[in-house]
């Protein structure tokens, strides 16, 4: 069998000219060389077969010099093939096909050199698309590029969101945020969750505050007694067991503030409010919901709804108040929200500031309600540095008892 060595289509470029070549040219050259290499490897295989054939012929008794000549010819062509392969291989290596050196270099226009994997497979699909000018890559590469672009954008526009991969980096991000907040607002002390909660306990001494991470709250909510519980004594025992298990976690000072995602405010016999923080460990509330203290079950969470009309109305109102605090009182959003929530301790006793009654028939929902609305706008939250700190008055109203024009709520 005859083999005609194909001429190399382009001279091997020198070092200077290579750097002057645009990436598509580099890609084209590399592809060429790869196919050369493949042909050379095929030639070498055939040559090896021929050598074996020559040896076999030589082992036959009646041969003279023919096998020797054959062998010598094959040997010469084999060496040539191997030499060519070595040089092509060197060129490929230099252009970054065998290793990833070109990939690591900048200014490759996003194109990827075909990679020869250790097992001989050539990842070459990208090539054709690239040479055609299409911004192509293999499916894996495309996915990788997309994900990288997405995380870059996310990091740019939502710096407070965790990366999720590295817990260390997310902690440092949230710490950085907290420090920046304190630079912007030196007047208040409400930088960390512990500060907020200890200040709250001073202002509203009747409230019981508990903090949880998200999973712990779900467990606790499931254990809360539903109102149809038959034996209150058993429930009390369960609750005390649960609180024993959480010894040391309930006090404000001891809580590990990087994990706290749920704040529970309990006014015994009046209501239970659940505030969710996002991200966990920050002072950014993102949802709040009110429930009867007797309600229990997995629906009791910051985005759940109570079965009782009165608490549903308050939860809806609280969503608006929360948006107001986040928008206009961003630095003290959590503290303002918690303080506002505490104003509901008078839910069943404080009369409406407009009509002077406690119960009133709500026109929209046709149920009797106590004043479920509390003023949240234009309330200043005093800092602890004030000489006379006072609980701001959140006035109580029935939903139908105020008008936006005369009394801004």
């Amino acid at each position: 069998m005859q083999y005609q060595p194909l001429p190399v289509s382009s001279p091997p470029p020198s070092g200077e000219s290579r750097t002057a070549e645009a990436p598509p040219m580099q890609v084209a050259l590399a592809m060429d060389r790869l196919s050369q290499a493949a042909r050379l490897i095929a030639d070498i295989r055939i040559g090896a077969d021929s050598l074996l054939e020559a040896l076999f012929m030589a082992s036959q008794p009646h041969q003279s010099t023919k096998p020797l000549q054959f062998f010598a010819k094959e040997d010469a062509s084999m060496r040539q093939h191997l030499q060519d392969l070595r040089s092509v291989g060197k060129q490929l290596e230099e252009s970054g096909v065998i290793n990833e050196s070109l990939r690591a270099r900048s200014n490759s226009w996003g194109l990827h050199m075909p990679l020869v994997c250790p097992d001989g497979a050539v990842v070459a699909y990208a090539w054709k698309r690239q040479l055609a000018g299409q911004a192509g890559a293999s499916a894996v590469d495309r996915a990788r590029l997309a994900f990288k672009a997405f995380t870059d954008q996310k990091r740019r526009f939502f710096p407070h969101l965790e990366d999720g991969v590295n817990g260390q980096s997310s902690e440092s991000v949230s710490k950085r945020r907290r420090v920046s907040v304190s630079h912007e607002d030196d007047a208040t002390d409400y930088r960390t969750l512990s500060d907020v909660l200890s200040q709250l306990e001073k202002e509203a001494p009747n409230v019981k505050v508990f903090t949880y991470d998200r999973l712990d709250w779900l467990k606790r909510a499931a254990l809360l007694p539903a109102s149809s519980n038959e034996n209150p004594m058993e429930v009390v025992k369960e609750q005390s067991l649960l609180s024993l298990n959480r010894l040391g976690c309930d006090t404000v000072g001891a809580v590990s503030t990087t994990e706290v995602a749920i704040v529970e405010l309990l006014f015994p016999s009046v209501f239970r409010a659940i505030v969710s923080l996002h991200p966990a460990g920050s002072t950014d509330p993102d949802a709040v919901a009110f429930f009867s203290p007797d309600e229990g079950g997995s629906y009791v969470h910051a985005r759940g709804r109570s079965v009782h009309n009165v608490f549903r109305h308050i939860t809806d109102h609280a969503a608006m108040a929360l948006q107001y605090f986040l928008g206009f009182k961003t630095h003290t959003a959590l503290y303002s929200t918690l303080l506002w929530i505490c104003s509901y301790q008078t839910l069943f006793t404080e009369i409406c500031s407009e009509c002077g009654r406690l119960l009133s028939m709500d026109k929209q929902s046709a149920v009797l309600l106590p004043p479920v609305h509390r003023l949240y706008k234009n309330i200043s939250v005093s800092s602890s540095k004030d000489q006379h700190p006072h609980l701001p008055s959140f006035q109580a109203y029935h939903p139908g008892c105020y008008s936006e024009e005369t009394k801004p709520l």
Binding site: S269, P293, D294, V310, F348, L359, M361, A366, L368
Partner: protein
């Protein structure tokens, strides 16, 4: 559990209770946006001990009541009002008493009627009749406020509701009104948190008041 107040109808002097009043009261419940939510029933029995020994007759209390409540279908509640005792027992206690031949029922009354849902309130209006008879002995009303279990915390709300209810009733010029005499729960050893035992005590009180007012009517007649 949610707290409730139990009222009974006190007719004006010289009048008696009748089923027309019951119909008017039901209409009132619907007038304040009450939605019919089903029926309810309470059985209340006066027990009399069965004696082997005649000597002990004078010491036995006459107000030993047992009742079943719809919110705890597998329990039975006893009250001894004058001794300030309320007890919760299993429903099978009635069988036991029968087998032991210790007590038998003297008279049984049935409270039954319709319940209405008014937002977070639940209203039950019902007649009081002796069992297996149709003569109306009284009208009873339960007002329950579902979100709260504390008697103290709910006092103002319940007062307010009672006021609204009485106002609505007053427009119909009925010969009487609903009355709630709040028993002293702490004497019975009951706490602020509402329980079925509180209901049992309220019913025992209501029965005592009904009997007292019936007796005063008969004494007036006589």
């Amino acid at each position: 559990m949610p707290l409730k107040w139990v009222f009974y109808w006190k007719p004006n002097p010289g009048t008696t209770v009748n089923s027309q009043i019951l119909a008017e009261v039901s209409q009132c419940a619907e007038a304040i946006n009450g939605i019919k939510d089903g029926r309810w029933k309470v059985n209340l029995t006066y027990y009399k001990p069965i004696f082997r020994d005649q000597a002990a007759v004078s010491e036995i209390p006459r107000d030993f009541i047992g009742m079943s409540l719809p919110e705890r279908p597998n329990k039975f509640y006893f009250t001894l009002k004058n001794h300030r005792i309320v007890v919760e027992a299993d429903l099978s206690i009635q069988n036991i008493m029968e087998k032991l031949q210790s007590y038998r029922s003297r008279v049984t009354l049935v409270f039954e009627g319709v319940q209405y849902k008014l937002g977070d309130f639940q209203l039950r209006v019902g007649k009081v009749v002796p069992s297996h008879q149709e003569t109306l002995r009284g009208i009873v009303m339960e007002v329950e406020y579902l979100p709260i279990s504390s008697m103290e915390k709910s006092r103002q709300i319940m007062d307010d509701f009672t006021g609204i209810w009485q106002e609505t009733l007053a427009k119909r010029s009925l010969p009487g009104q609903f009355v709630c005499t709040e028993p002293n729960f702490s004497e019975f050893g009951l706490a602020d948190n509402y329980t079925p035992q509180h209901t049992a005590v309220q019913y025992a009180t209501v029965m005592a008041d009904l009997i007292a007012s019936a007796q005063s009517v008969t004494s007036v007649r006589n």
